[in-house]
């Protein structure tokens, strides 16, 4: 047979890349199952199953194209959505989330590679705005031991509420029952994927080692969050909490490592990736410290998603030829 050069091809496929993302998410998922028990498993099962099924149905019957769910991208969206929801969220909330993520945010733009916004995040934000009660009823980490719905606030919500009531940082956390070590390992309330910093970092290391993602986006987000938080803390430690707290709580790590690095909705080269990351970090901190929501990374990523075409147009990669 005849074809133009090259006649060799690398081993990368879309499916392999997506499989690696799933593998990288497994440690964090395992930790969330360990701490939250059936609630976390059930949300993930519903989310993945509905995302994959929905994409298959849309491709087969609406678009009338051969279904390509075997590329695992819908499964990744489903898993990421589950990691962004409170463990034990009711099934109809999860279902609404997957319909929004796959049906509206992904397939209506033409499917994989065409969506301007991160589908899982669109799903989460729509749920957050539509069902604020269910979306902020965080189960406390109790493992499989009990099925009682014991709920509590996340550290970030605790902080926001306290500050709004005129307390200082020290007063708020005087009787808090968690340490930084626990933040690192994940014994705190929160959505399934944001509880264990260590497990997320393990996933990050795996993605880097497999060359699935490049470090520019996560590192610039985390550095911006740390710098922003550090300056505020240095200026007024009574009003603002230290940067380490910002890095370890909420969705910063999950967002920086797994959501912001989504290929389709992030810039194409290092310069753009760094601009994108700094933008996300700064917006997250603005929302966290001055906005009304306790957490802002989802909004920050979606806002910066909208800026990606512009970034790609003006931040060009390092060219070989320096003139012109």
């Amino acid at each position: 047979m005849v074809s133009p050069a090259p006649h060799a091809h690398g081993s990368d496929t879309t499916r392999r890349l997506m499989r690696d993302v799933i593998i990288a998410l497994l440690p964090a998922f395992a930790v969330s199952v360990w701490f939250f028990g059936w609630g976390a498993l059930q949300v993930a099962a519903v989310s993945i199953a509905t995302c994959v099924a929905l994409e298959w149905v849309i491709q087969k019957f609406l678009l009338r194209t051969p279904p390509q769910t075997s590329d695992l991208s819908a499964a990744v969206t489903g898993l990421l959505l589950a990691m962004n929801l409170p463990p034990g969220a009711p099934w109809w909330v999860v279902l609404t989330g997957s319909v929004t993520a796959i049906g509206i945010a992904k397939m209506s733009f033409g499917g994989i590679g065409k969506n301007p916004f991160n589908p899982a995040l669109v799903g989460r934000v729509v749920l957050l705005v539509s069902f604020p009660v269910q979306m902020t009823r965080w189960a406390l980490p109790r493992g499989f031991a009990t099925t009682d719905a014991v709920t509590g606030a996340t550290p970030l919500a605790l902080l926001k509420e306290g500050l709004n009531n005129g307390l200082t940082v020290e007063q708020i956390f005087d009787n808090a029952d968690f340490t930084y070590l626990e933040l690192l390992f994940g014994r705190i309330g929160g959505s399934a994927g944001e509880v264990s910093a260590l497990a997320l970092l393990a996933g990050f290391a795996y993605l880097l080692a497999r060359r699935v993602i490049r470090p520019y986006i996560p590192v610039s987000i985390l550095a911006t969050v740390a710098a922003f938080g550090g300056i505020l803390w240095w200026a007024n430690p009574e009003r603002f909490i230290d940067p380490l707290f910002h890095l370890l709580t909420g969705g910063v790590l999950l967002g920086a490592i797994f959501m912001a690095t989504d290929y389709v909705t992030s810039p194409m080269h290092p310069k753009g990736m760094i601009i994108f990351g700094i933008g996300i970090g700064a917006l997250t901190m603005l929302i966290r410290t001055f906005g009304s929501y306790p957490e802002g990374i989802s909004f920050a990523i979606l806002i910066m998603n909208a800026a990606v075409p512009l970034i790609n147009k003006y931040a060009k990669p390092k060219r070989y030829a320096r003139n012109v």
Binding site: P4, A8, R210, S266, M268, P317, A321, V324
Partner: protein, 473 residues
């Protein structure tokens, strides 16, 4: 482990120097395809002439040569049979002795008929002026005009694949002087081993060829760039340079494709970058292939024209891996027979390396001056996979050694946005294939880019021919 190394070395240039053991490399993009140098240990074997030889009149860049022999005439090995027609053109010599049986078109690799001279082989009688003794002649003529004249008379062209007449390349335009000569011995294409064998078996001759080229250019420095996967060739050449006191320097290059691309090699060795649409002479550099250097030695010191070249015959299913010295115009089918015939389960036969070689339709096509390899690709690896949607993973951008954005170029091509294609430097593309190689969605990126480059050229012509209609394009 190697993943972590690549990762680190890509991020930290200083570390790259350290971990790479001091090996040089180009600074943007690149890929790491499987090496597959299966024939590296097979010595060059001379393939005696037999049957017929069909020699194309246009096997170089520029105007085709004009035949000066006619049907029925007897020719000797090394005799001039076609003269260069113009400045950018090259002489062609008979690679065999015998009788001219036809001066008419012959089908090439793609089955397209090209003007050629076909000679029926009768014995192997060489022209008397050619020195066929193994003795190495080390004295170098001091007059560069003499060297260039002899190179032109031997019909030498760039053997790296470009086939640009060497005497033209050695005469840079006025005002531009190449102070640095780089001999390209990177051989970065997987599977190819013919340059490697040349360095091991004709190392000193190639080095003298390099000195001749250096003299012809009046260059002050000359480097020989070799990829680190050929440590024996690096050692061998360094040994000869040390013993003979030649003013040449071997540069170890990191194994990375396309290390042997002209622009990449210049970057790796001199840290200079050729401007867009520019020539190496613009940054004071000239690049010549190591095979060309050997041909230059033979032409200047031995009066032997370019009538044979070294060819690798290789493939994963091939029973024998072969490097052969083959006379010009030998049918490819004879090379296949030498290696035991086309192996079962072959899906594609490629003339050249897997990254930039050309898939063959016609196995009876004759070899040319720049044929470097005959590669048999098994069926399973030959077929391109079905393309799926672009997932914007940016792996093509990361791989492009020219710092272009292949994903963007193909979209602009599909929409015929010529101005933006120009602004995004479509014409800088060297067609190395890194983008297509690294695409996880198997999108034929390079095919589209080639199409776009073609359209860009014709759109320019249209604008120039019909200036009033320019705005419609």
């Amino acid at each position: 482990m190697s993943n972590i190394y690549h990762l680190l070395s890509e991020r930290l240039p200083l570390l790259r120097r350290g971990l790479g053991g001091g090996a040089c490399s180009f600074s943007i993009g690149g890929i790491h395809p499987e090496d597959n140098k299966l024939a590296a240990n097979s010595p060059l074997q001379a393939l005696p002439p037999e049957g017929t030889a069909s020699i194309f009149l246009g096997q170089h860049i520029g105007a085709p040569a004009e035949a000066i022999v006619s049907k029925g005439e007897r020719v000797k090995t090394g005799q001039l049979i076609a003269k260069a027609s113009g400045w950018v053109s090259a002489d062609i010599h008979s690679s065999v002795s015998g009788t001219v049986v036809a001066v008419e078109p012959v089908a090439d690799l793609s089955g397209i008929r090209q003007p050629a001279i076909t000679i029926q082989v009768e014995g192997d009688e060489w022209l008397e002026t050619i020195d066929r003794s193994p003795e190495i002649i080390r004295e170098i003529p001091s007059d560069s005009a003499v060297i260039i004249k002899k190179i032109a008379a031997a019909g030498i062209v760039g053997l790296g694949g470009a086939a640009f007449p060497t005497h033209v390349k050695l005469s840079p335009p006025p005002g531009k002087k190449a102070g640095i000569l780089i001999i390209n011995a990177a051989e970065c294409e997987p599977f190819l081993t013919s340059d490697h064998r040349v360095m091991l078996e004709f190392g000193e001759q190639a080095l003298i060829g390099a000195l001749l080229l250096k003299q012809a250019l009046h260059a002050s420095k000359a480097f020989i760039g070799i990829e680190s996967n050929k440590p024996d060739a690096i050692r061998e050449l360094q040994k000869i340079i040390r013993e003979r006191g030649y003013e040449l320097q071997v540069v170890r290059l990191k194994k990375r494709y396309p290390q042997g691309g002209e622009k990449q090699l210049i970057d790796a060795v001199t840290h200079r970058r050729v401007p867009s649409m520019g020539l190496p002479a613009d940054v004071g550099v000239a690049v010549q292939n190591v095979g060309t250097a050997l041909a230059v030695y033979e032409a200047v010191q031995k009066h032997k024209p370019l009538i044979e070249n070294s060819i690798t015959i290789t493939g994963k299913n091939l029973p024998q891996q072969i490097n052969a010295l083959v006379r010009l115009g030998t049918p490819l089918s004879r090379l296949a027979a030498l290696a035991g015939g086309i192996p079962a389960g072959t899906g594609k036969i490629v003339c050249g390396g897997p990254m930039m070689g050309k898939a063959i339709v016609n196995m009876d096509a004759p070899t040319t001056k720049v044929t470097s390899a005959l590669l048999f690709i098994p069926h399973g690896e030959a077929q391109r996979r079905k393309a799926s949607n672009c997932i914007r993973c940016a792996k093509c951008v990361q791989a492009c050694p020219m710092g272009l954005e292949p994903y963007l170029l193909i979209k602009l091509t599909q929409r015929s946005r010529y101005d933006e294609l120009r602004a995004n430097r479509m014409s800088d593309c060297i067609e190395c294939g890194c983008c297509l190689y690294s695409c996880p969605a198997h999108i034929p990126l390079l095919d589209y880019i080639r199409m776009g480059k073609g359209e860009l050229k014709s759109s320019k012509l249209k604008v120039e021919n019909y200036p009033t209609d320019g705005h419609r394009l």
